[in-house]
Subunit: 257 residues, 2 copies
């Protein structure tokens, strides 16, 4: 396969690049930093900057078999605007810019997050974000009092909803899209999530036994990018060592029979 990957220089994305290379696939990595793992080509791209995204997508030619939208910023105080720019607007713009460069039957995989699991409860705000122009973002953030944690969660809610909402359009183009929702993965940004989510994360990790490993998430991303998963469309796959299944079982009083 020929794969376009954002965020290939660290964390989950670096493991995706490594796994794809191991399987003999060609990887074009779009990242602000140069990947440490071997990729076929690195294109420097800043996903918070529309001009940089345009230049990056213009820089590639030929067709791709998959896009993996993995780049994203974690919840970190003061970053609310850039989180929404990169995790939502940048992802959407990059994907739209690459759509015409996809082979028939190609797959798109988005890295969402378990932090986006409440998308249904927050659907009004998600729809508002999805219909927003980028220049309206500062007013949207201040009017709604969106802090960095809410910005992060909202960006991931929007990715999950968009993944579902675009299913019919993509089928009409012989394309498909899915997302993954990892929780508490042991990467360089785990401390940001610990600061943002506190005791809830500590409890979840304790129940699962440990945080997830980036390579465990990468395996699922690669599967969803591959023809073997071809009939999975518009779905979000949770990869969390059972954290949400256990929390849900407890809430619904169905644990252990």
């Amino acid at each position: 396969m020929r794969v376009a990957l954002t965020g290939g220089s660290s964390g989950i994305g670096a493991e995706v690049a490594r796994k794809l290379a191991e399987l003999g696939h060609e990887v074009t990595a779009f990242d602000i930093s140069e990947p440490q793992v071997q990729v076929s080509r690195w294109i420097k791209a800043d996903l918070s900057d529309p001009g940089s995204i345009q230049a990056a997508t213009d820089a590639v030619s030929g067709k791709y078999d998959a896009i993996i939208n993995n780049a994203g910023l974690p919840p970190r105080d003061g970053l609310e605007e850039v989180i929404l720019k990169v995790n939502w607007f940048g992802l959407r713009r990059f994907m739209d810019g690459m759509l015409d460069k996809l082979e028939p039957g190609a797959a798109i995989v988005n890295t969402a997050s378990r932090a986006g699991a409440m998308w249904r409860d927050n659907l009004e705000e998600v729809k508002a974000l999805m219909s927003l122009q980028p220049d309206e973002l500062p007013a949207f953030i201040s009017e709604r009092g969106i802090d960095a944690t809410r910005a992060y969660n909202l960006s991931k809610e929007a990715v999950i909803v968009m993944t579902m909402a675009e299913t019919e359009n993509l089928i009409a183009r012989n394309l498909r899209m899915n997302s993954v929702s990892p929780a508490a993965v042991s990467t360089g940004i785990l401390k940001d999530f610990a600061a943002a989510f506190g005791d809830r994360m500590v409890k979840n990790v304790a129940r699962a036994g440990r945080p997830g490993l980036p390579e465990e998430v990468a395996e699922v991303i690669v599967f969803l990018a591959s023809p073997e998963s071809g009939w999975i469309k518009g779905q979000d796959v949770t990869i969390d060592g059972g954290m949400s299944a256990m929390a849900m079982s407890e809430a619904l009083e169905i644990s252990g029979t």
Copy 2:
């Protein structure tokens, strides 16, 4: 891997057996009929009969890396009792009988169905079924007026709920379990689903472009049985060519942006 598979003689199960064999895995098939595809061993088993299940699980020795609970009866008029016996009680009994024969880290994969997607709305009835003794089943069916279609849906709701509910118990034993929910797959029993679900199924298949293929479902089952999916626990993965994503997008008015 060494895999215990129920329902390997037809439909999705036959494709699972074929795919596992192709990958060099050892398959023990538990089925009432002899598999047409090559398996390492066939053990005749009737999942509606506790004695037959006991004899079948007693007949194998050594440890397994995965159990694939795939056998199931479709909705067909008059079969309500045997549907619940095979799809729920039989699955549960077979799995419980095999638990001590699993290697550390082994995976269990259950074939549920999109027909079980309403498990949350029907949770009271699902819990009632899950706490039922098999000899109470006829009274349960008649008191609640359960027909074959409801029996089928209920059995699959229970499989999805059990898959989630057992997560913590299984983690304590270093095991994991997930389910798949296919919709409208072109196997020998597709006509039963067409009769049971009528226009809704026709509409879904039209939107997806075609029914699913058994091998498309088998690929995902094999992935969930394999170490590559090791951090996915207690989840249900929908495999439906986008049918439910499109229906959900329509219901929530989020289609196409």
